[in-house]
C-alpha cells in the first residue's frame, strides 16, 4: 500500500473548528475537515477565501488560534502564549510534517540541489534513511513522474511542469501518510499543466490520501472523493463531487462555478 502501514482506523487528518487570524482579521472561521485513508479532499473557493491558509495550518506552517488538529488520532499539542497559542512539541511538529508532504504552487525545489538531490534530501537528512537506498527509490519515483532523464539537472534547467513533477517525486519519496497540494497546476501553462494533472490522477487512483487546493474544476471533479467549497474562511458547501458539482445548493457556489467556466 502506498500510504504506508499505519492503519489505526483513525482519519489521517482531522480538523475541528479551526480558526486562524492575521492580526485582527480572521481568515479561517471555524472549519472542520476529515481525510480518511485514500480520501482525496479538494478545497475550492475564490481567491482569498483561505484555502492556502487552511492547508498550511494542517502541516503547522501557520499557527491556528483555535480548534483541534489530529493526525492519525494524535492531537497536535499546544501551549498558550500571549494572545494565542503555539505548538508545544517541536519533535511532534517535525514528525507530522514528515508524514504530510507538501507540494507548492511555485514548486519550491531547492535551487542549489539537482533534481535527484532534491528528492532524496529530506529522506536522508530528516528521516535518516540510507542514501543509496533512497537514491534508488528516488530514481524510481522520477521515472514514475516521467522525468528520469532530468535527475542530474538543476531545477532552473527544467520547465515548470517538469519542476512540479520533480516536486511531487520529492513529496512521494517521504512515503507520507498524506500529501498536501496547494494549487499545483496554477503556475503552469496549459500544455505542461496536463502532465502534472495526469500524475495527480494516477496518485488519486492509487488510493493516496490527499488534500488538494485547486482552481481546476475539471481536475477537482476527476480526483475528488470529497469537495469543500470555502467562502470567506467558512465552509459554504461540501460533499461528494457528484453532489457539489451536479446538484449545487448554495447560490455562492453556483456563482463561483459559473465564473470558473
Amino acid at each position: 500500500m502506498p500510504d504506508g502501514n499505519k492503519d489505526t482506523g483513525n482519519p489521517v487528518i482531522q480538523l475541528r473548528d479551526i480558526h486562524k487570524a492575521y492580526g485582527d482579521i480572521e481568515v479561517i472561521k471555524g472549519v472542520d475537515l476529515t481525510a480518511h485513508r485514500g480520501d482525496v479532499v479538494v478545497l475550492i473557493g475564490s481567491s482569498g477565501s483561505g484555502k492556502s491558509t487552511l492547508l498550511r495550518c494542517i502541516n503547522l506552517l501557520e499557527t491556528s488560534q483555535a480548534g483541534e488538529i489530529t493526525i492519525h488520532g494524535e492531537d497536535v499539542s499546544w501551549k498558550n502564549k500571549a494572545g494565542g497559542r503555539v505548538t508545544s512539541d517541536p519533535d511532534q511538529v517535525r514528525r507530522f510534517r514528515t508524514e504530510l508532504s507538501m507540494v507548492f504552487q511555485q514548486f519550491n525545489l531547492w535551487a542549489h540541489l539537482t533534481i535527484l538531490e532534491n528528492v532524496i534530501e529530506a529522506p536522508v537528512t530528516v528521516l535518516g534513511k540510507n542514501r543509496d537506498e533512497v537514491e534508488e527509490s528516488g530514481r524510481a519515483l522520477l521515472s514514475k513522474v516521467g522525468i528520469a532523464d532530468q535527475a542530474d539537472k538543476y531545477p532552473s534547467q527544467l520547465s515548470g511542469g517538469q519542476q512540479q513533477r520533480a516536486a511531487i517525486a520529492r513529496a512521494l519519496c517521504m512515503e507520507p501518510q498524506a500529501m498536501l497540494f496547494d494549487e499545483p497546476t496554477s503556475a503552469l501553462d496549459p500544455e505542461t499543466e496536463a502532465e502534472v494533472v495526469q500524475v495527480i490522477q494516477t496518485l488519486a487512483a492509487e488510493g493516496r490520501t490527499m488534500v488538494l487546493v485547486t482552481h481546476d474544476m475539471k481536475m477537482a471533479r476527476d480526483v475528488a472523493s470529497h469537495v469543500i467549497f470555502l467562502h470567506q474562511g467558512k465552509i459554504e458547501e461540501e460533499g461528494p463531487p457528484s453532489e457539489v458539482f451536479g446538484n449545487t445548493k448554495s447560490e455562492r457556489l453556483k456563482q463561483f462555478l459559473s465564473s470558473t467556466h
Binding site: 502541516n59 506552517l61 517541536p90 517535525r94 514528525r95 510534517r97 514528515t98 508532504s101 507538501m102 507548492f104 504552487q105 511555485q106 514548486f107 519550491n108 525545489l109 531547492w110 535551487a111 542549489h112 540541489l113 539537482t114 534530501e121 529530506a122 537528512t125 530528516v126 528521516l127 539537472k153 538543476y154 531545477p155 532552473s156 534547467q157 515548470g160 520529492r170 517521504m174 503556475a187
Partner: protein, 286 residues
C-alpha cells in the same frame, strides 16, 4: 662577486644591488603582506559570521551587539580603527599583565601622559628576541584587520542570509527539517551565491588596505619601497639617484596582479556556486 660593488658595472652591479640584505627584507615584506591576507581571512570570516548571526539572534542583547558592531565600524573611518585597535589591545593586555604579575607595584600605570607598566608586564618582554616583537605587532595588526573587515563581512553575510528566498527555507521546514538542518542544508549553501560579490569586493579592499600595516609600525612593502628607492649618496655601498618611482611601479604591478588574479578566482567560484541558481527558477527565486 659582490664584495666590492664600486668596481662593478651595469648588469652585475644591478644583480648585486638587488640581492643586498635590505632587498631580501624588501622581498620578504611581500611575503608579510601575503601572510597577513592568508591569516586574516579566516578571522574575518569568523567575525563576519558571528556578527551576522548575532544580528539575527533571537536573543536581544546579541542582536544589539551585532548591530552595534557592524554599524560602529561602518560609521568610523578605517584608519581611526587601525590606529585605535592595536593601541587599545596592546594597552589592555599590558594593563592586565601588570595587574597580575606586578600586583605589589605601587607605581601608578598612568603617569601624566604616559602609560607605564612594570617590566614583567611588557608584551612581549623587553628581553624577548626581535622576532617576538615583530610577531606581536603582526598579531595586533591581524586583530585590527579582522575586527574592521569582519564587520564589513558581517554586513555582507547578513544581507546574503536575508536574500535567500523565504520559500526555500519554508520548504525545508515543511519537510521536517529543524532549525539547524534548515540552516546548514539550505540557508548556508544558498547564501554564498548572494554573499560572493560582496565578499569579492571586500577582498579587493582588503588587499588595497594592506599598506596600512605601515601605520602599525610593520615594515611592509610601501615602507621598503620608500626606504630603498630614496636617493643614496656616495656614502652608501650602492649609490643611486631617486629611484622611488621604479620601486613604486613594482608595487603597482604586484597589487594589480594580485587583484587581477583574485578577481579571476572569484569569478570562477561564482560560476561554480551559481550552478542551478540562476534566474530561470521562476517564482522560487523571485
Amino acid at each position: 662577486m659582490c664584495s666590492d660593488p664600486s668596481s662593478l658595472e651595469g648588469f652585475q652591479w644591478l644583480l648585486c644591488y638587488l640581492t643586498t640584505a635590505k632587498h631580501m627584507q624588501f622581498y620578504g615584506s611581500f611575503g608579510i603582506v601575503m601572510l597577513l591576507l592568508v591569516v586574516t581571512v579566516p578571522f574575518i570570516m569568523v567575525f563576519g559570521f558571528l556578527g551576522a548571526l548575532a544580528r539575527r539572534s533571537g536573543f536581544a542583547p546579541f542582536r544589539w551587539f551585532g548591530l552595534g558592531y557592524t554599524s560602529m565600524v561602518r560609521g568610523v573611518p578605517d584608519i581611526a580603527f587601525f590606529l585605535f585597535v592595536p593601541i587599545a589591545l596592546d594597552q589592555f593586555v599590558e594593563f592586565s599583565r601588570h595587574k597580575i604579575k606586578c600586583s605589589d607595584s605601587t607605581e601608578p600605570i598612568y603617569q601624566g601622559n604616559d602609560f607605564v607598566v612594570c617590566a614583567a608586564a611588557k608584551m612581549p618582554l623587553g628581553s624577548a628576541p626581535q622576532f617576538f616583537h615583530e610577531a606581536w605587532g603582526f598579531t595586533l595588526a591581524v586583530v585590527a584587520f579582522a575586527i574592521v573587515f569582519g564587520a564589513f563581512a558581517a554586513n555582507t553575510i547578513h544581507g546574503a542570509l536575508m536574500a535567500v528566498p523565504k520559500g526555500q527555507l519554508e520548504t525545508a521546514r515543511a519537510y521536517g527539517m529543524n532549525d539547524r538542518q534548515t540552516f546548514w542544508r539550505v540557508h548556508m549553501p544558498q547564501m554564498w551565491v548572494y554573499a560572493l560579490p560582496g565578499l569579492s569586493n571586500l577582498w579587493q579592499i582588503l588587499i588595497k588596505a594592506t599598506p596600512l600595516l605601515f601605520l602599525l609600525g610593520i615594515e611592509e612593502i610601501v615602507y621598503w619601497a620608500r626606504e630603498l628607492g630614496g636617493a643614496k649618496t656616495g656614502f652608501f655601498t650602492y649609490p643611486h639617484p631617486d629611484w622611488r618611482m621604479w620601486y613604486f611601479m613594482a608595487l603597482l604591478f604586484f597589487y594589480v596582479f594580485l587583484t587581477w588574479a583574485s578577481q579571476k578566482a572569484f569569478i570562477w567560484l561564482e560560476i561554480k556556486l551559481a550552478r542551478g541558481m540562476t534566474s530561470r527558477t521562476t517564482g522560487v527565486r523571485a
